[in-house]
Symmetry: D2
Subunit: 364 residues, 4 copies
């Protein structure tokens, strides 16, 4: 079961091979120095992108990380993959009775989940009732897989089981959008989906000045004005950052991830604190979806990338993917820090762009 959970094939077309491969320019940038509870050491990272100024941007953050003893510390605080099914009842009273019955069968549902896959484990069942509609959200651990498909397969078994055993409910949908996959919502951050990781760095004042050409106070202030207040005024939802999506896309493509998950991955919070001139800077990514096995992970370029990242080692189930999550969060921090520093200085961004333009002879 490796296919993408939200599409439906027809048999004939399913077997068709690709016509060709679209080549995405890729550079290994780094190394980054990483510490924390999921990865440690120095590692280069592959960034596949058409937006090649991303490479020097991340590289600047990476160089900085090596000048600091702990480098970028990544703390992984949660992990789970989810799928919500939708059940219909004749009314809310019946939906509520069904919800109680479902929760009473949790042990049994764990067993059904195990039978669907040897890696999936049902962690929690949640529900929400709206009128006669009953949304049931299953949360799973999925080993080293990002787990979309494992969760969908398990949900399919669970749904069939519920429709067989719980009276007075009927099929609504295998996915009720209460999961939520590839949509920017609040629920994933609040209840958890994917890895929840914080990358953080403490930068002495001398490096803030010397390497980032700015001050801790300026970065902290810009973070409040731009990422927190600017995004708020734009009507953002659970998000405050400059450009997480750029780094996520590039690393996702290079490592065979389902890059459509940058939609929810892009929802994260940058925090900057002026600590007596030193800079504390962190990127929290509550909805970081990555895997090291499953769909796309056996393609040679992907396999090579994962191997070089140290995510093909013989480790306990889940640890290779936790390492990849840590590397991803650290990479996001490098690019975010670099851009935020640049934006504290009027004109720096455009001057850098103009330099690249000249050096590469790109047309205007």
């Amino acid at each position: 079961m490796t296919s993408q959970p939200t599409t439906v094939p027809t048999p004939a077309a399913a077997t068709a091979p690709p016509d060709y491969a679209t080549p995405i320019p890729t550079r290994w940038v780094g190394p980054l120095r990483i510490t924390g509870n999921a990865a440690a050491g120095e590692v280069h990272v592959p960034l596949a992108t058409y937006e090649t100024p991303l490479w020097p941007s991340v590289a600047r953050g990476a160089r900085l990380s090596r000048l600091i003893e702990d480098g970028i510390k990544v703390t992984l605080v949660d992990e789970r993959m989810t799928r919500s099914v939708l059940l219909e009842a004749p009314d809310a009273e019946t939906a509520y009775t069904a919800a109680l019955a479902i929760h009473a069968r949790t042990t049994e549902l764990r067993e059904v989940t195990r039978r669907s896959s040897r890696f999936a484990e049902l962690l929690t069942v949640r529900h929400e009732i709206t009128g006669p509609l009953l949304f049931v959200r299953f949360e799973f651990s999925t080993g080293d897989a990002s787990g979309h498909n494992m969760a969908t397969l398990a949900a399919d078994h669970l749904l069939t089981h519920l429709l067989t055993h719980i009276p007075d409910i009927s099929y609504g949908s295998i996915s009720g959008n209460y999961c939520t996959d590839k949509k920017a919502t609040a629920i994933n951050g609040i209840l958890g989906r994917g890895k929840n990781a914080t990358a953080e760095i403490h930068i002495p004042q001398s490096l803030v000045t010397g390497r980032l050409r700015t001050t801790a106070a300026k970065i902290a202030r810009l973070n409040v004005h731009k990422n927190l207040i600017g995004t708020l005024l734009a009507g953002g939802i659970r998000s405050a950052n400059a450009h997480y999506a750029n780094m996520l896309l590039a690393l996702y493509l290079a490592t065979g991830q389902d890059a459509a998950n940058i939609v929810e991955g892009s929802q994260g919070v940058t925090y900057a604190d002026d600590r007596d001139g030193d800079l504390y800077f962190s990127c929290t990514l509550p909805n970081l979806i990555v895997g090291t096995i499953g769909n796309g992970k056996t393609l040679p370029s992907v396999d090579d990338a994962l191997t070089r990242l140290g995510c093909r080692e013989d480790r306990p189930s889940g640890d290779n993917t936790r390492r990849l999550a840590a590397i991803t969060a650290a990479t996001v921090l490098c690019g975010e820090l670099s851009l935020m520093a640049a934006q504290t200085n009027p004109g720096e961004l455009m001057q850098a762009h103009t330099r690249i333009e000249r050096s590469t002879g790109s047309p205007a």
Copy 2:
């Protein structure tokens, strides 16, 4: 000026070439039949993705479009690219005075914009004041470019101009996140950013039954329960669809777009109506960011794809890109319709997945 607007390079790294290219499996699917105010005719579309079940999913929608005289009609209703700058004042009173002064200089700002690029045209200036902060949002037309960089360059000139001519304000940021780029917010849909397009199709009852194996009533009901109510309960923001992000990502990668823009692109609304057994089905994408010139568009595979899509013709400025926007919206509709139809039938999704799994020998 072809570089990505939200990253900062250093000179040395900027000139470095890619190490290699990450190959993304790509298939041309179709043809789709398209009508409307920006494109007409039948066209195959290239989908670059690791999630290959997307191909047959879109193909099913494409086949259906050819059985209907008008096919998929796409109506383009707006286009603009934006960048917001952030200015700081000592207090709100001063910020307000500055805002009035800025609006009074609109003609002059149009001229500054023209000097920054021969394609950029300043359409509108908007602002919002919060405490002493003044966010100014510039809206531009940008010809055939998606316009991120053109808008950033113009904003840089405009910002310098404002800082020179408007008293009592100081630099806050070249981007105040009120633009909004690659973040899911409400402002882009409400004020406009990128193309705003609706793709729609009228499917006779016989085809709904015969080709989609469902009914108009079932699809309309699922759309309300899953896309509208499910996303709402998940805490979504201006979004109600099943999986726009998947189709956008695949087409963006194949055509050299900045695929991080799927974040806001994924915010759109699916609408389904049971019209006496026939199905009206539409996908509205208010934040669709595409271009046919600019960064990444000269790579051979991208250039080939754009040529084959008919987006390299000798047309009035902007028309090639409008055509691409229409094709993109139609492609989104194909995949969305196919998945929604599948989800009306219990088990269909997993059965299809299992078929693919067997046929391709993929591991579980």
Copy 3:
């Protein structure tokens, strides 16, 4: 402890009596017929409002409820009151260690809660980490009180306890806005705060036509277009209704509630279904905050209102307030149904307004 949790008095002013009372025009409307798991029977409801057309609007729904055997069925599915505290750590790693330590002390925290009040019971502890910040959300049952103050008092004790026993964290705030009180957010609906109740009614076709002068299909369609899609496009968050805030405000004022809680109370979802010409109509209020004891409940007019509503009976702890929640949800349904029916007919709303204007001689 009866005071409002989010204000701070100074001693001198605290003892000052009111200067006078602002009189809010109040009518008892009904009776409504109610069934369900928290209230049953027929009951008039008091509506205190300057917007007096609300009275006949609710009255129309109430009359309809009496023509149906089950009337309005209200199902209460959850109840809890929350307060979040904010703790600061030097970094995310320490915040995570602290979070684990806090969860390990849950039993002890339950005991601390009990010592703070004889009615408060700690149900659940949740947390979220962002950078070095640790938000801890306590969920309580609070008997017949709405529980703002009880939760604040308990949180104050819990916070002191945590600061004493958990190393390396410091005080951030007694309230971290992650609760969330009197702000429209997604968290309350997802995690629960106040009562979560659905009011629903099944109306035969003859009554839909005869009493509401519309059809089930028209109401269902309007609900999708206006409440679901219209609110979505406006950038709403977890909300889809026409005017819950109006009914909540009027009933809250008449029964001594803290009416600022209509902010989150107004976030609810109206659902309408055409069932072969009959109408299923429901209002789900996930964040309904009411109490029958505590601040303001001993004022004579409030005490009278609660007594007349049957919410001063000798019942198990919490049941009087559950009854009030059910009555409130049913009242919301009456007003919502009435307005939705009116808006299906062009001109009906304004004609009704003009009639009132003439009959009362109100100035333009």
Copy 4:
């Protein structure tokens, strides 16, 4: 036309008088010192609330305002009242044609508006298309009225006019929830609805220490952690404050406003800046809906309150209401500042509450 826009009466009930008045405890607090473009001088404010600790809380801010020469400066930056109608077309193409035709008739629509009321003036027409649905948002100036009813009446005339003159569209709803009234959304802040006002104060360090018992740094930090980040994590929408809803409710009730508008009124942004030890503190309320004429404003207690507030003077149309808006924003600042200061100090909030409890002999 004084009635509430979102309810429908029946003739019999419409003439019924209130049964009685619910008395809300009210105190005049202050005076506040106010400057700015809509009000100047010192003024007491009436606060009607069951949550009486609000009085000393606002009083503390008021006392502070009198120790500063400029007091609280309020800058009013925008005003308008809105109503959106919903039109249905057979498809998006037709909806788009209709939208263009509507904009082409703007002059004519201005005339229709004038005929509906001598105070209403049509400022702008906006639209959004989703599938076959056309939402048209009318923005009006409404003199001294808050303008709900004036806008609804004008929209009713405009809607009839459009249905008569624009081909191929049909009635959807007199209100499409794209207005948006009494719902927390993003559109009101972005496009404007009600008054948009910022209240701000500069407090010297000595007063921050002496009167607020805190520091500018502590308040600025708490504002970032609690109001900005805490609300963000809770899934808030365009909102970052501690308790605007409390002050708005109390002042709205005392002055005869439609207090259900605190729902959107509560969406505002508190900003605090440490300026070398001095505190800059502001409250921005982008959706502040107030009026001095219209429904409820002729009740004796309301009329007295408005007179005493200086909002019954002989001024150009709109100025009395602008004054009321300024007073309201300043009152919000007083309560917000007071609470924020208290929450910087562990235990202060509960100690104050306990003092009140003892002094008033309130039961637990």
